[in-house]
């Protein structure tokens, strides 16, 4: 319960030392009990890691279905392990089903994930989606993961409030500001922001304003080429390229609920569901939470306009789940058979439809979810981008920096700090 760093921390108290010693002893004892493998009866047991809390139960039913369809592979679901620690111990899960963002970068780039390029499933993937994986993390010559589910995030808006005040869905920044003014005059918070949870700012205002203005993949490509010296004088930098997006973030932040600084994600879902604000910068994962409060709520989605050219409209996507098999797995064949099972169109498409997500294959059907249809066009046109906060390596606390700006820091020193962090990271890695 006490998340003390498991480190050689000096000044360790006698009590924590004893607890540690006890845990170590228990660990040895347990290791002695564990049976090696379980292949004696011709059944291979694989561990399957899925930690997305909303869908653990869903995958349990899929596992049960898989067990019914064949008898050679048994799947044991794991959703609590610490992934880094598992890799350090050289005992990662046989099949991972995980968010494909900065958290997998190290596993991919150090070659810890096996090549799945020869699987037929790899050939079915929508070519528009492949670059998203490559931008996040890549090991040359390998298909390290197969994308399973894509979530698209944009502005969630209260359709009834928009109708009531005669506001059309804005497609330009000026329209958006005008809409905010209208709501503010009516005494309704245009946006409900939740600055207490840093990730909500990073994936919301921060990523949306940048994605709507900056060519994100191109920016990071040029930034990586810059090497270990990124500052005001270099041809590309956070200070230069993110500056106008951050100014818009500050301006839009001024239209947020007054108590945004002390509100968290749960507060936001509740308030938006109660109709306390017209717009809410959250992804589809919030829809189920909102429905818990107000099941009949009329919610729509539109991409946040950050420029005055409707052609710039884009939605933020992330590869919410991707499947991968570690090099260290000793049961790759069995893991592959479960991967193929999960990738069957009727299973994968049902999963995505049930969980407010978009598919990843060439033949994925369009969404029928009324809250998501507003984004289908952008998905089809590949008018999407990965959030900048997901590409910036996790060593840099970018969500905290975004929170500083949201809470009133001037953007310049924060962006300068980002440049400095980026340079130092490039130097040491």
């Amino acid at each position: 319960m006490n998340p003390k760093p498991p480190l050689p921390v000096p000044g360790l108290s006698r009590r924590s030392f004893l607890i540690g010693a006890g845990a170590l002893g228990a660990g040895f004892a347990l290791a002695g009990c564990a049976a090696p493998g379980g292949s004696a009866s011709g059944v291979t047991e694989i561990s399957f890691y899925v930690s997305k809390p909303e869908v653990i139960g869903y995958f349990d039913t899929l596992i049960a279905k898989f067990h019914k369809s064949q008898a050679r592979v048994r799947v044991v679901r794991d959703s609590t392990s610490n992934m880094s620690a598992d890799f350090v111990r050289n005992s990662p899960p046989d099949l991972g089903c995980w968010n494909y963002n900065f958290s997998v970068v190290e596993f991919v780039e150090r070659g810890a994930l096996s090549d799945l390029g020869d699987m037929p499933e790899a050939a079915t993937i929508n070519p528009d989606i492949k670059p998203l994986l490559k931008e996040t993390a890549d090991y040359p010559g390998r298909t390290s993961a197969i994308p399973y589910s894509l979530t698209a995030a944009s502005v969630l808006y209260n359709k009834d409030l928009f109708t009531k005040y005669g506001v059309a869905v804005p497609t330009t920044y000026d329209d958006l500001v005008a809409a905010c003014e209208t709501f503010q005059k009516a005494g309704i918070a245009p946006f409900f922001n939740t600055y207490k949870d840093t990730w909500t700012i990073a994936q919301g205002l921060f990523d949306y304003t940048i994605g709507g203005m900056v060519d994100v993949p191109d920016f990071f490509k040029r930034l990586r080429a810059e090497g270990t010296k990124v500052d005001a004088a270099s041809s590309v930098s956070f200070q230069k390229d993110f500056r106008s997006a951050m100014d818009r973030m500050v301006q839009l932040g001024s239209y947020a609920n007054k108590n945004a600084a002390s509100r968290g994600y749960g507060d936001g879902n509740l308030a938006f569901a109660k109709g306390e604000a017209a717009m809410y910068l959250q992804g589809p994962w919030a829809l189920n939470e909102i429905a818990k409060t107000n099941a009949k709520m009329n919610v729509g989605t539109f991409p946040l306009p950050v420029t005055n050219d409707p052609k710039d409209l884009k939605v933020r996507v992330n590869v919410d789940l991707a499947l991968w098999i570690p090099e260290a797995s000793k049961k790759k064949e069995a893991a592959r058979s479960f991967l193929s099972f999960l990738m069957q169109p009727e299973i994968q498409n049902t999963y995505n439809a049930d969980n407010n997500a978009f598919g990843t294959t060439k033949n994925a059907p369009p969404t029928t979810n009324p809250a998501l249809v507003g984004m289908q066009k952008y998905y089809d046109d590949a008018a999407f981008y990965l959030g900048a906060s997901q590409i910036i390596p996790s060593e840099i606390p970018v969500a905290n920096y975004a929170q500083s700006i949201a809470l009133g820091s001037k953007p310049e020193p924060v962006l300068r700090q980002l440049d400095g962090d980026w340079s130092r990271l490039a130097l040491r890695s």
Binding site: M1, N2, P3, K4, P5, P6, L7, P8, V9, P10, G11, L12, F17, G20, A21, L24, S84, A85, F87, V88, N90, F102, V105, E106, F107, R110, G111, A112, Y195, K196, T198, N259, A261, S262, G264, P393, S394, E395, P397, N400, Y401, Q403, S404, L407, S409, V414, Q417, G420, D421, R424, L425, L427, R428, S429
Partner: protein
């Protein structure tokens, strides 16, 4: 062990005084059983503390992420560390926070201990109440206070029309640390009180009687008797407290998670982020520096407490 050693030595001195000839041999010969007692602890300490520490120092000279391929990078991590403003600010915050908290905790605990050792009603029950926070886990305390700071206090301030507290203290980059000091102190004061109560009760009552006969006021008794005679306890509380507050982690995670921005990120938090963020080698370098600082403090502690009224 020190107690045993001392007895051994005392005995040796006594025996040598009696029988001068046996002098050296007798106190050198230690029963092997003592080493057997030491062994399990030594093995566990080596496996769980020393070995990981040495490995951590080794990795601080690489670009490892904890697993997979890595290469040696020499002192690059240390060079990047010293030029990193977020690391510098973590040290600045942690040390400043530890100093303030030590002062607050000891001042409050000392006064409470005086109150709790005075002739008051329901003394035992009062002591129990004051010691209660000690048994609650830090993360639980932090989440409870998080709710108070984010919701209850702003609501109360709003109702009373008190401007400065209408927005959450935790969301203010300049003052969030105050909230952390308050909550940390709330948790740390009980154990400090216990040590002070022990110290104050150890002062013989005849000293106070003599002082009272000489006409010393209560204030004078506090200044000239209580404080000097508990000096050893004050020193121990200050050093132990300072060392604990330097390692602050759970309360900060539960209250601000290092924010707003990075204004309340402690050293322990930044080191731990090395595990979750793939910054393993870099934060190992940070941990190595932190380790050296802790050694200096430990040596200081050993020097200052030796010979004094040590517990």
């Amino acid at each position: 062990m020190t107690l045993l050693d001392r007895n051994e030595n005392d005995m040796a001195v006594v025996t040598s005084a009696r029988t001068g000839a046996k002098k050296r041999t007798s106190h050198r010969r230690v029963d092997k059983t003592f080493y057997a007692f030491l062994l399990p602890g030594l093995v566990l300490f080596t496996l769980a503390i020393t070995l990981p520490a040495v490995m951590g120092i080794f990795y601080s000279f690489t670009n490892s992420v904890g697993f997979g391929e890595f290469s040696f990078t020499g002192f690059i991590n240390y060079i990047a560390l010293f030029s990193d403003p977020s690391i510098r600010s973590a040290y600045g915050f942690t040390i400043g926070f530890a100093l303030v908290t030590v002062a607050v905790v000891n001042a409050v605990a000392f006064l409470l201990a005086i109150g709790l050792t005075a002739r008051i009603r329901a003394k035992v029950a009062m002591r129990a109440v004051f010691v209660l926070p000690m048994v609650v886990s830090g993360i639980v305390i932090a989440y409870a206070f998080n709710f108070l700071f984010s919701n209850s206090i702003p609501a109360a301030a709003n109702a009373l029309g008190f401007g400065p507290l209408e927005s959450s203290l935790l969301a203010n980059p300049n003052w969030a640390w105050v909230a952390i000091v308050i909550v940390t102190a709330w948790q740390a004061i009980p154990s400090t009180i216990l040590i002070y109560i022990a110290g104050i009760l150890a002062i013989p009552s005849d000293v106070y009687e003599a002082a009272a006969l000489d006409g010393a006021s209560a204030g004078r008794q506090l200044r000239s008797i209580t404080v000097p005679l508990t000096a050893g306890y004050i020193l121990i509380n200050v050093i132990i407290g300072f060392k604990n507050f330097l390692n602050s982690y759970d309360i900060i995670v539960g209250l601000t998670n290092g924010g707003p921005g990075t204004s309340t990120t402690s050293i322990a938090m930044s080191i731990f982020q090395g595990f979750t963020n793939g910054d393993y080698a870099y934060q190992m370098a940070n941990a190595t520096i932190f380790f050296l600082i802790a050694i200096v403090i430990a040596l200081l502690q050993l020097r200052t407490t030796r010979g004094r009224a040590s517990l």
